[in-house]
Symmetry: C2
Subunit: 188 residues, 2 copies
DNA sequence: GCTTAAATTTACCGATCAGTTAATTAACTT
DNA sequence: AAGTTAATTAACTGATCGGTAAATTTAAGC
């Protein structure tokens, strides 16, 4: 079945928010870009915040699905899958329209710890942590959670660096560090 | 001599922008918070963007001054100063009012590569890179720029992680990776 | 004390913000 | 085809956006 109007709205809104920012994107602009009238949008979502949250939930699902699948495709063992995270990042950075991490940006505009948008952003990162921890455990790490935290610091750093267009290949740099890190944690 | 009205304005505006975001902070709100009327503000700055840029330039200077001085205070050799960067970060993260990196946030709200705010944010990071590269060279790194890029990826990752309040001590995690990295690059 | 210029204030500009009301169109039921 | 309901629209709300014009206060020069 074809996507509902509501799903179309969320998808398109997400795209505009990503490209343009949250506060900088008004509901009128979204109406113009989606071809859906404002009143219809407010039929589906009570507030702009609700629409943003729906967009972020979609992004969370899509991004994790994409990243985890790509890691599994590019790596055959838990250890090589961890390494492959940085190959996947490299692909992402090269996509045109890449503008950094949606959740870093969301948490930059909605900073209150109690803000649902901030919370959802942190939750996304925690779900990544769960997956990477699991993988680190299966790779035989003595402290899988510590290893996961460190790998994810590299990931976040690479994303920020890529977004600011510093360095030629932040994913490659991060991967080089990850290699050393895994050698230390799992043996070379 | 006491700070000029203009400097007071920039300082206070910077603080509000940092806490509240850029688009979310209106000029009327700044007038209310600083006690300076809007017309006076526009005497000093032609546009809101100019005020933001002045704030970011101040932050750039202050932050680099603070970080570099702290690294020199906490470390006696180039190598230990590189390590001390993460001790300084830990101090920063623990300050109340810490809300992540001003420049990451600025570049999240002003994403166009041609935007002066985006450019200034990237320039700030490049100045950090120059300093860390220099230090890496003096520490005897065979590829000081590669080492600097990698250490700074750890720095950015730690900042983002701390801002989202993931993990207990991202600075410590990043430092642990830095230690391994330096051992590999400079010998243990 | 008077004049002049600089700094500050109040009040306002049109545009846009998130969100709503009332009228219209489209779709389904019988 | 008529009647009912659901979806959509244009037009509007008060508030706020970035920015300004004209009036008022403050300060300086003589």
């Amino acid at each position: 079945m074809r996507p509902s109007k509501r799903d179309e709205l969320v998808e398109k809104a997400l795209e505009v928010f990503y490209h343009n920012g949250f506060h900088a994107t008004g509901m009128d602009m979204l109406a113009a870009r989606t071809g859906i009238s404002k009143t219809s949008m407010y039929k589906h979502f009570r507030t702009k915040e609700d629409l943003i949250l729906a967009g972020l939930r979609l992004r969370d699902k899509e991004f994790r699905l994409w990243l985890f699948r790509r890691m599994e495709e590019l790596g055959s063992t838990p250890r090589s899958q961890l390494m492959a995270m940085f190959d996947a990042l490299k692909e992402w950075f090269a996509q045109d329209g890449f503008r950094g991490c949606m959740f870093i940006k969301a948490s930059a505009e909605y900073q209150e710890a109690s803000d649902p948008i901030f919370k959802l952003s942190a939750d996304h990162k925690r779900l990544l942590f769960v997956y990477v921890s699991e993988l680190a455990a299966r790779a035989g790490a003595a402290e899988p959670e510590a290893l996961a935290r460190r790998l994810l610091i590299l990931k976040e750093g690479a994303i920020v660096t890529a977004h600011l267009r510093l360095g030629e290949n932040p994913a490659k740099d991060a991967k080089a560090v990850a290699k050393i890190l895994l050698a230390e944690a799992l043996g070379s």
